[in-house]
Symmetry: D2
Subunit: 313 residues, 4 copies
Amino acid sequence: MILRLGHVEVAVMDLEAARHFYVDVLGFIEHLQADGSLFLRATDEFDVWSLKLSERSTAGLIHMAVRVDRPDDLDLLDRLHRQLGLQTRRISEGTEPGQGEALRVRTMDGHPLEFYHEFEEMHPYQGDHVHLPMRYSHLHRGIPPQRLDHVNLRVKDVSESLRYWVDQLDFRISEYTVDSNDAVRVAWVRRSTGTHDVALARSTGPMIHHVAYCTSDSAALFRVADLLSDAGLRRAIQFGPGRHGITNAFTIYVLDPSGNRLELFSGDYIRDLDRPAIKWSAQEYTDQGLMWWGNPAPPEFQQCRPLIDDEWP
Amino acid sequence: MILRLGHVEVAVMDLEAARHFYVDVLGFIEHLQADGSLFLRATDEFDVWSLKLSERSTAGLIHMAVRVDRPDDLDLLDRLHRQLGLQTRRISEGTEPGQGEALRVRTMDGHPLEFYHEFEEMHPYQGDHVHLPMRYSHLHRGIPPQRLDHVNLRVKDVSESLRYWVDQLDFRISEYTVDSNDAVRVAWVRRSTGTHDVALARSTGPMIHHVAYCTSDSAALFRVADLLSDAGLRRAIQFGPGRHGITNAFTIYVLDPSGNRLELFSGDYIRDLDRPAIKWSAQEYTDQGLMWWGNPAPPEFQQCRPLIDDEWP
Amino acid sequence: MILRLGHVEVAVMDLEAARHFYVDVLGFIEHLQADGSLFLRATDEFDVWSLKLSERSTAGLIHMAVRVDRPDDLDLLDRLHRQLGLQTRRISEGTEPGQGEALRVRTMDGHPLEFYHEFEEMHPYQGDHVHLPMRYSHLHRGIPPQRLDHVNLRVKDVSESLRYWVDQLDFRISEYTVDSNDAVRVAWVRRSTGTHDVALARSTGPMIHHVAYCTSDSAALFRVADLLSDAGLRRAIQFGPGRHGITNAFTIYVLDPSGNRLELFSGDYIRDLDRPAIKWSAQEYTDQGLMWWGNPAPPEFQQCRPLIDDEWP
Amino acid sequence: MILRLGHVEVAVMDLEAARHFYVDVLGFIEHLQADGSLFLRATDEFDVWSLKLSERSTAGLIHMAVRVDRPDDLDLLDRLHRQLGLQTRRISEGTEPGQGEALRVRTMDGHPLEFYHEFEEMHPYQGDHVHLPMRYSHLHRGIPPQRLDHVNLRVKDVSESLRYWVDQLDFRISEYTVDSNDAVRVAWVRRSTGTHDVALARSTGPMIHHVAYCTSDSAALFRVADLLSDAGLRRAIQFGPGRHGITNAFTIYVLDPSGNRLELFSGDYIRDLDRPAIKWSAQEYTDQGLMWWGNPAPPEFQQCRPLIDDEWP
């Protein structure tokens, strides 16, 4: 039913500073600016946008959205969430640019989630000729980022959350870590065949840790650090580059001018959804799960950003 | 129902020459050798093997296999093929190493196809610790190839073939080319979210053009040509490196010592299965569809290898 | 005495078309435009410019310049050339932007050559802080090219030319090819420790085959072909990407809008200047010397551009 | 007179452990083993070896060697060092494999230095055909390292050392850092056109910090960390990958099993030897000179290894 993560709306405190960071330095492509929001996409996406930056007084997550396979999945999901005792709200076509009718819910673990099916794609032609959306490299700059990959969320009780994401929404666990009592501490869950669309980690309550975009290869992660340092923004680099033990992906984490964490991520593995989850102990997660090369995270890496309440749903 | 292409069995005329080419030079990993066959995998695969090289008197395709989502899909597919008037054969667990029970058919367009669900995976642990199958780079050499991607087949009538692959097996067309009469000449079809698991191109009858493996990045395609040239095998390089217009992937085509064509392929796009197919005209296919940079294929690139009859099904 | 190739002046027929090609698409950096010339540099150069594009009615080479170790080398070279019966001309400081006094000669084999010592460098500081010229990646686009590498010239008699370049100017031969009579057909000569600053190949008389710039790695050569194709300029791609047998460098050759050939070149070897030259036979030059992978050059690759007579010296 | 750094002899405590680390995991090429030493080269070197690992009871530097332009430079250097009041010793041809007669001295700052001219090169032919030493990629594994780049030494007084290296040996300073009293703390000096052959940093006396080898590109630095982690040697990774502010090179530092530090280094700039040195203040060295991205070194990064006294000269 759910195909994949489709887009994310993040709150920034200064839209022009955000544009400088995301567009001018990192190379996100501007689709449009409207009503206090900037709509961006990465180079290899067919969807006309995947990142919405909206001006608010604090940073954080406003909402995330997943694409469903068929239009009538919205009705099924509406019913499902009401049965779970959760409020739902239908959003009309065009509420977000290029998007058809949508369903908004607050998940069982407190996160603002949107379901949609229709979404405008980049036209893959120029006149009579095919010209794929990614084939405008002469106009690209920065990294550039290639594709929205995942969001990493905080929840109060991961096992409880999995009852929602796995049992109700049919996400599958690719990998997970346990604490010394064998209780799940972090789980990576997915509907696509990569390692995850969403990561769920234990904390005091619902928050966001980061949004992640794919890059084409490992060299792009060096470019991230170079671009920020060259532009005088080296303090935005928080952790990496390195390689995750979990997911096997190359990674670097940076902070946007409002403090939202962005991960650039490359080369995780592909595996069928029905395959058994891989389990990491607490100790090996610390030693080589987070970073396969053993490099420890700085303390600030634990900080999360709140959910921004936009009367959701 | 069908998840993806799972493995391919290719006929080679000299198993030791094949091992030198695939394992020693290109860096495929040997899983085992048994009964006149060599079972290989690429570095980022969980499946214990994806390429079976079997000694025969001529080169060509012996069979290809696709993984299905659930064990009882085999029954559904058995019934489906009989309804289509096609012979089927059940194969017991272990007929191929690591594989559970399977179903073998000859497709409507004449190709030897196997369906299976159970398949042994690499153990992702070392003692108490997670150690993913791809994290043995200290033992790798060659390119190395990363993952089986697709097969490219010849069929008599592509439109007719699509009635089978799309209407019966629920493959989706990502891109296609038409001739000057607007009849489909080549179609790229898929069950995974990449650009294709199978390509179907018009010819005199069922044959194979190539098997393709993914690499981690574009630099790996230069390594392919370097490895072969350095090892004194430069005549194995047939076409590329270049970039496909169709699929947007980097590519190089090489011939193994028996004449089987292998493509190394990197960086095609990801797109939801329900999205509309992209259409290329005959002229633009020739001019920039096959190779986006406009480089023409050598005449030998048209040659195909036959199906090797192993009394299939 | 001579340190290296320093800059090249190339004639283009349309300066705006040249700017689009070199700056907008390929990512050369504009230093300044003055008096019908555009002065460009590559990202990793300290010299403020290395490529001068001057508007003329035909394409071709206007002059090339080499940097000498000491200011008084100009006097020595002036005397040397007169002793050889060649005209010389002194050029005052600032005739070309950023350049000190220079000496202009027409070489024994007919090429317009300039010697200079003083040349303005990029300031490596920003306020109190070091900020190297290459660390402006947030402003880069295109490939980008990294550094001027060499020029490839045509001469009437290579052995005769070597009497000038090697015996008089103390260039050293890194590699050379002979014809079936063991006469030198092409020689790669150098003052820097890379494989060459100048290549000299036999033809009907003095002409230029190409100017070459280095890139950071092999992936950059794929970017060259992508950038041109994406910008609708795929017919500018003439040969490659590939790997040279001679010099061991990765390569791609493209044509600017006026028909001047530009090579992008990466990864040739480093070797002490006194080491013996490597000799290629006529046959192996054709088979694997020009391209190690065996790919043959298209016939147009033989075309050269004339020297543009600017009353030199 | 001096051309470049030519080779380094490093003491290891267990030759088999060293071979596993340097050859099996990192991909150095074994030239020969003799008399308790292992002679290795990197892929792109013409010299038959550049790293000599000799078994001793402690780790550290045994000697380093620089190549001189002409055989009779050895006499000039012998005289020079005696005039400086330093002992010298002539070493006969073949004392080290492939090396001609050599001169050994202890430098004014206490380091064991060898000068040589003759050194055996890899034969660049196979039968009648050119086959450059680097074109054996089918036999390579690991990173592989490409070329010896530099040594980083500790000395008691850098300004005093520069009187030797610069004034006597004609090395040139590319960059240097000063302390708050404007006294030189570290200097990068060179005879080749890259950023340095030798770095000299202030400490309590003569010691070695690291030996550095070049890699082909930035992706190779990720491979270093992957290879070591995959082989169960992740504790060998000490600092990086990152980018130096000084030299502009990508870098990662690792420790061999005896504790000798090896840097893998890629992409420093090229600049004429006569150009003015670039000066870094104490604060900016700490903030962005060591690592352009601002990542701080771990305390262990300060540790150095002693000189191993082999009765030098």
